[in-house]
Amino acid sequence: MEQFAQQFVNGVVLGAMYGLIALGYTMVYGIIQLWNFAHGEIFMVGAFGGLAVWTALPESLAENAFLALPLIFTAAVFTATFTAVLVERVAYRPLRSSPRITALITAIGVSIVLQESVRLFYPDGKRPQSFPGLVAEGNFSIGDVRIPWVSLFIVIVAFFAMLLLQAFVHATKTGKAMRAVSQDPDTARLMGIDVNRIIMVTFAVGAILAALAGVLQGMKFRQIDFHMGFLAGLKAFTAAVLGGIGNITGAVLGGLLLGITEVMATQYIPQGSAWKDVWAFIVLIVVLVFRPTGLLGEDVSVRA
């Protein structure tokens, strides 16, 4: 029981990070029906942006978490957002009216370009880079369950980011415009909404969340590398589909479900850890067999 609770907590932490990345996938899909396979690389680029600034800090600053953390997050967010907006403008916008497969292949191309850019141009980028922990090392305990401080930090950051996103999407004018574009782009234009601007904002918001996840992952595993976006992107994609394409709450739920499943399967299924990265897809297949639209997905044909 204690072990179960411990693993459950680990699953939530992992799932919170998947969820943060999945949000960007699902929002971009919701708005332009593009699986942005370069989104995992935005997460990676964000982590590297944060690390680059931390590395450049004078030692006195770098060791002070209260000053260094906001700087790292800010740098990560700026790097990721700038990259995502640039990619949208240069690679995706010209293909807006092309067949979907064209944009999809472009996304894969973009993801290779971003990976290779970091590998080639980040100092010693072909090797994994160590990442600062920053939050106090060690654990605290609830009963017999031991929770690392960094895990608590991850869950808190993810929780508030998701809360802010909900507020943004439901309570701001731009957020409402975003939902309008995802439901009916032509009619949104008739309301006076600049659809191109909204698409850009969507990419930016997705990038901000992915950048947070990038830094959090670095802090947790104390290491980042240029291909970290591949697997994370694939898992987040799975989480987004699991939760229901285009559904924001679904992406968070899908992320959590995936994180928890992965951890539990590794713990309780014999040889489970060898198959660590396969469980995600098994869950996906099972859910899609019974609920083709994902957990919270609405009938996608409505908007065809």
């Binding site: 439901q183 009619t187 234009r189 008739l190 409505v302």
Partner: protein
């Protein structure tokens, strides 16, 4: 009377299909003008082109003497031209109130929309009752009212309605047309596209009959209603 909207020599194609051919018409300030025609005559295409959703291959559109050509759709709305699209197109997963808020999107952030809300709630009391209901769950008639109310939230000088009577019972259709008449009384100019020629032409100051992409008849609403060809083709006589 001055012409609020002028369309001159407009042609629109979908690939090889020439959907609208050299169409010209005008809408005077304060008038109700109706475009009538059978399925596929090109009515929707004309409205979508005026709104900037489709590019014309030839022709010009002037609104309040300003050329609209090459303005993006979102700027055209902001200049005072609202379009209630065919099939209502309310945002289904948003509430009635959110749909109305979006209608007021072009009114600046600080702008007080309460007066506009009150105006549309007076025209359509049901929308006040259903403020929190998801628009996709409204009945067809209610959705049409919402679509019109949403367009009014931008305080348009010209309201373009694409087949507001589509799929509605005669009683509801009559209410919608009464409201169109009322809007004109309040000073809104209306361009009304309809297959329901009887209802549209009875209301219209001026009418244009479209056939496979071209204007074939022009006249006052009353004249067209008396016209033999119109009666045969559109009034099932």
């Amino acid at each position: 009377m001055t012409e609020l909207l002028q369309v001159r020599g407009l042609s629109v194609r979908y690939g090889m299909i020439e959907a609208v051919k050299d169409v010209s018409f005008a809408v005077s300030e304060g008038a109700i003008v109706s475009l009538v025609g059978a399925n596929g005559a090109g009515k929707t295409t004309i409205l979508r082109t005026i709104s900037g959703l489709l590019p014309p291959v030839a022709g010009e559109v002037f609104f309040a003497d300003q050329p609209l050509a090459h303005l993006p759709a979102h700027e055209i709305v902001a200049s005072g031209l609202a379009h209630v699209p065919e099939g209502r197109r309310v945002f289904p997963r948003m509430t009635v109130r959110e749909n109305l808020d979006l209608g007021a999107f072009v009114c600046g952030q600080g702008n007080n929309i309460d007066a506009d809300l009150e105006r549309v709630h007076t025209l359509f009391p049901i929308l006040a009752e259903r403020a929190g209901q998801k628009a996709g769950t409204l009945s067809g008639g209610e959705q049409q009212m919402l679509a019109i109310a949403r367009a009014l939230m931008s305080r348009p000088r010209l309201l373009m309605l694409d087949e507001p009577s589509m799929g509605l019972a005669p009683l509801i259709t009559q209410r919608i047309f009464d409201i169109v008449a009322e809007l004109r009384e309040q000073g809104t100019t209306v361009l009304l596209v309809e297959q329901n020629a009887q209802a549209a032409l009875s209301l219209a100051d001026k009418g244009y009959v479209l056939e496979s992409g071209s204007v074939v008849l022009v006249g006052t609403g009353a004249d067209l209603l008396m016209n033999e060809d119109v009666r045969k083709a559109y009034l099932a006589e």
